[in-house]
Every structure is written in C-alpha cells, then in structure tokens.
Amino acid sequence: MTALIEARSLAKHFPSRDGKAVVKAVSEVSLAVAEGETLGIVGESGCGKSTLARLLLRLIEPTSGDILFRGESLIDLDAAALRKRRRDIQIVFQDPYASLDPRMTIASIIAEPLDIHGIGSRAERRTKTLELLDLVGLDPAAAGRYPHEFSGGQRQRIGIARAIALEPRLVVLDEPVSALDVSIQSQILNLLADLKARLRLSYIFISHDLSVVEHVSDAVAVMYLGRIVEHGKTEDVLSNPLHPYTQALVSAVPEIDPAAKRQRIVLSGDPPNPEHIPPGCPFHPRCPQAFDTCRNLLPPLETVRGRQIACHLIHIGASALPRNP
C-alpha cells in the first residue's frame, strides 16, 4: 500500500550565521505515514523536528531527498501545482498567539484558506466557516470577534479550524499543546482525536513532551541532531526503548506517581548544537555506553526487534544491547 506521505533521505543544510560553516538541521530522514495513522516525532531543541515539519509541507526547500504524497513527488511540482497539493497537507503551529493575525476576525482567519483556493460561493464559505467553528467547539456567534478576545486554548481551536478548512488528508501539528495549561491541553488533545476520527485525518505530531506523544501516536520517531535514532511502534519505542538516547529521554520525564520510583539516566553535558555536530555517532559525547567505534563511525539506521535504530551497540552482541531503564 502506498503511504499517504513519505520522506526519502530528506536533508536540510543551512549556512551558519557567520557563513563559515554548514548547519545540518536535518540529515537522511526517511519516514512514512499511512492513511489514518499518527506519527509522533520527538526530540529536544535543535534536533531538527520543526525544520522537518516545514520540509514536509515544502514551506522550505530540502537540500536533498524527496517527499512523496500518495506516491507523487512534491519536489517536482511547480508553484501552482504545489499550491493545489497544499490543500491536502496543513500545519498547526505551537504558539496560538503568534500564528493568528490580530487584525482579522476569527471568521476571516478561518475562511482565508477557502478564499485563497476559491472554494464555493461567498455564502457557502460563510456557512462552512460557521460549521468549522462549531466543529472545533467554539460558538459560531463569536465569528466576528478578534483573536485577542480568546484564551490560549480557544486560539488553538481557531488555528485547528483554519487547518482543517480545506479538508486536508494530513495535518502536521508542531507542538500544538506545548503552550497550554494541563487542563486545557487535554481538551485540545481530545478535540484532535475527535477530528481525526470524524474527518479520517492523518497526523504528524511533533512534540518535546513524551507523555503527549505516547498518548496520541501509533508510531514514533526519535530525533537527535537532525537524524532519526530510533523509529517504530509507540509501544516498542517508548515502553521498551533500545537506543541509549531514547532511554535517557524516557527516564528523564518526571513521574506523577510517587510510588513509581525508577532509575533515572541523567545525561551529562548540554543539548547538542547543530552547528557543531560531533564526528561518529552524534550522540556519543553524552552517551553513557559509548565505545571507540561510536567516536569514529556514524551508525546507520538498521532494523532490530521490529524497529529501526541507529546504534553500534546492536552489533557487539545481544547481551550488550541496552536494557530497559
């Protein structure tokens, strides 16, 4: 079966600020999302997850690699064809305060994609806008109000309404609940689940919050310094992580249940800087299990125990494979 969206060896390299070096924001990323699936992408700041989101929508041009939507390359499309294709792929950003135009009413914000794509008559667009407001749990009577009159959670509902206005197949959610309080976060996560079921959407859900990603995702890709280091089914990757970085990440999340004491792997050192990617395995300077090979040789992504993992430990015998944290 053809994937809904597929990335093949995607890379994005920028010149550094002083122009002397190359920032490898994303390197050799390959992934696929099936129809109706949610793929979670996790990683810390600088891991390239937001750059990857923008690449998948071709909001920025990849340095190399390809993006296929239902088997058709997005890279080959000219501007007009790309614009058409974008109806199928939409994005919701983290900051509902910064991503909505404060001078537009929420009705015009939500209707804008419909206007741009010339969908329906004016009256039909108006009706559709009111339906969308209702669908995301906002009062259609509020259509004439402005973004500042809404709370953070309500603004994120507006951003979501706008993203689904064109009935896309795929929505890329870039940290959609990170700016929200816990009690509001769960409202938005439930809304996203409802919309996915009703509109048969697929999601790429980008977040630094492992518990959120674990809750919503069928599959998870863990990124470190622009590369995928572990990728597989959510229950495999997050409940039984094999890559030392995934293990540290999972163990770093504070546990609510005070009875559930467990061993925390505290990584030494700073989060990595994509302007200075270490040689060999990019994780080796912080890896508690690094050995000589890791310092010299970049580990390829290989399939082990039903998931993909980029780690030399898998070759030095099963007994050396990282255990559960």
Partner: protein
C-alpha cells in the same frame, strides 16, 4: 503554623490597581515551608503562584501591586512590613531566587563571574578579588566544570542549562536558608530539566536548603516535594503531604489536574478534562471559583466560599470533596 517553619505565609492577600479598579489576584493564602524541605506551590497560568512568590521577595512594584492583608514570617520577621533597606538584606542573602528565564534575568553585558560577585559585594562588602574564591566555589557546587574559565564568559556564550546553573549559583552564593524557584526548568529541554532537578536535590542535601518550588508540572512536584499546595484562581484549594494528595486528591480541581495528564491515561483513550476556563481576576464569584467547571458542584458551592478543611493529613477547600 508549626514551630519549625522557616517561612510561613499567613492569610496573604494581594491586589492590583487596574483601569477597571482594584483586582484581587491572591486571596487569603497560607502555607509554610519547613527548614530543609521542599514545598511545591502548584497551579496553572494566572492562579497567582508567581505573584505569591514575588510578593514574598517584595519584587512587585507598588503601585500597582498592593499587599491587602496577611503576614509573611521569615526567621522571626514579618516581610510584609519590613522597611525596604532591611528587605534588601533579605533578598539574595537569606532568601535566594531562581526564575524561569535565565536569559532575561542575567545581565547580558556582564561576565558571569562579576555578576555572581556582585551579590557578595552587596551583602558581604567584598571586592572582586575577595569574592572570586566564593564565586568559583558556587560555580563548582552547581556542577559547572572549568569554573575559572567560565568566570570570564558572557551569558550568551552559555547554553540554557548552564545559564540556569549560573542563576542557581547566584542564588546560593550567600548561603541562604530558603530558595524560591519559580518554574526553574520550564524553559529547558527534558534531559536538562532532569539535570537541574538532580542539582536542586543535591544542593538541598548539601546546604540544608529549604525550597519553595513554584511550578505547573505535577510530575516535578511528585519528584521534588515532600508537601504541596494547589492554587486555583488566587486561592489555595488543597494542601498536604505530596504522597497523600497524589494518592487521594480531595479537591475536584486537583483530581481533575491529575487525571487530565496524558501520563495517567491509556493510549488513544479520551482524556478526562476539566471543561471551561479559569475565571479571570475580578470576575470571580462569591462562592467557589471552581464551581462553574466542577462536576461535583452543589447549590452551596455557588453561594458560599468553602474554607480549607482538614482531611486526614491534608486539607481541601471544598463543600463536596472527592470521596
């Protein structure tokens, strides 16, 4: 309040003068921090937790902020009425403070060694040469390697995690008994957050530090705090030993916060959520502020403000507590 309380806040009420008149943001808040222990002050944005912390340090400009009532007892003094020159001696010396954003709380134009030394200049009258050894010692205590070399760096040359360590070094360089940490890891990545949590625990053991931890993260409270106080719409709605409150929350808001976290739910399941929004200051009812969002609401809740009542080891302000 118990005798061993290092800090005890009693009936603290704080208001702001706004264009629409005075607005109460913190009302009748009481809690105490025991020497050498950590109290978590938990709540969502706008609940008044940061205003409470800043009031303890008397950092809010007045006007518009105004302490309308209550006492803040710290080592035998009431910080509410302490004259400003004496308050200046408390701030940074006997009470240290760490904020969420290390980049905005550090001076970008000054080398970090000088910035930390400034605290010693202010409180101990030391010049840079005299202070240098204590500064290096403080940097080592917060786990900054190569301390001598770091002295001459500027904040922008450091990562977010290192900047937060520098902030903590500044806060402990005078050996305070109390550290107020306001969302100390919120701006940091999860692996760095884990480092800072371990550091705060180690400093507590080593220096006998009491910590008032202000956070929205219940997981962090569970890991760091012996006791907690949950704030909602300017008031404390539940308080008690962390283990008791997490095992058996009595206030419906605490219960809702705990169950709406995706950590507690099974994958793909609907998350229990708290409907509606926090009422803004000035628009709070005479009854319980949580009434409009509460699944256990009764008529009395809308009319009468529930007082904090004891339940076993803890207390909750609720007319119809979770059984």
């Amino acid at each position: 309040m118990s005798a061993e309380a290092l800090l005890s806040v009693e009936g603290l009420t704080v208001g702001f003068n706004t264009e629409e008149g005075p607005v109460r943001v913190v009302e009748d808040v009481s809690f105490s921090v025991v020497a050498g222990e950590t109290l978590g002050l938990v709540g969502e944005s706008g609940c008044g937790k940061s205003v409470t912390a800043q009031t303890i340090m008397r950092l809010l400009p007045s006007p518009p902020a105004r302490i309308d009532g209550g006492r803040i007892r710290f080592e035998g003094e009431d910080l509410v009425v302490l004259p400003e020159p004496r308050m200046r001696k408390v701030r940074g010396d006997r009470i240290g403070m760490v904020f969420q954003e290390p980049m905005t709380s550090l001076n970008p134009t000054q080398r970090i060694g000088r910035q930390i030394a400034e605290v010693l200049a202010l409180h101990r009258g030391m010049n840079y040469t005299q202070a240098k050894e204590s500064v290096i010692d403080a940097l080592r205590k917060v786990g900054i390697g190569n301390a001598e070399r770091r002295l001459d760096q500027y904040p922008h040359e450091l990562s977010g995690g290192l900047r937060q360590r520098v902030m903590i070094a500044m806060a402990i360089v005078c050996r305070p008994k109390l550290l107020i940490a306001d969302e100390p890891t919120t701006a940091l990545d999860v692996t760095i957050q884990a480092q800072i949590m371990e550091l705060l625990k180690a400093l507590q053991r080593e220096l006998g530090l009491a910590i008032l931890l202000i956070t929205h993260d219940l997981g962090m409270v569970a890991e760091m705090c012996r006791s907690l106080a949950v704030m909602y719409a300017g008031r404390i709605v539940e308080t008690g030993p962390a283990a008791t409150v997490f095992a058996r929350p009595r206030h419906p808001y605490t219960a809702g916060l705990l169950s709406s976290s995706p950590r507690q739910a099974r994958r793909g399941e609907r998350l229990p959520s708290i409907p509606g929004l926090v009422p803004p200051p000035g628009k709070r009812s005479t009854g319980c502020s949580f009434a409009d969002r509460c699944g256990r609401v009764t008529d009395r809740c809308r009319r009468e403000l529930p007082p904090l009542a004891s339940f076993g080891a803890g207390a909750a302000a609720c007319w119809n507590p979770v059984p």
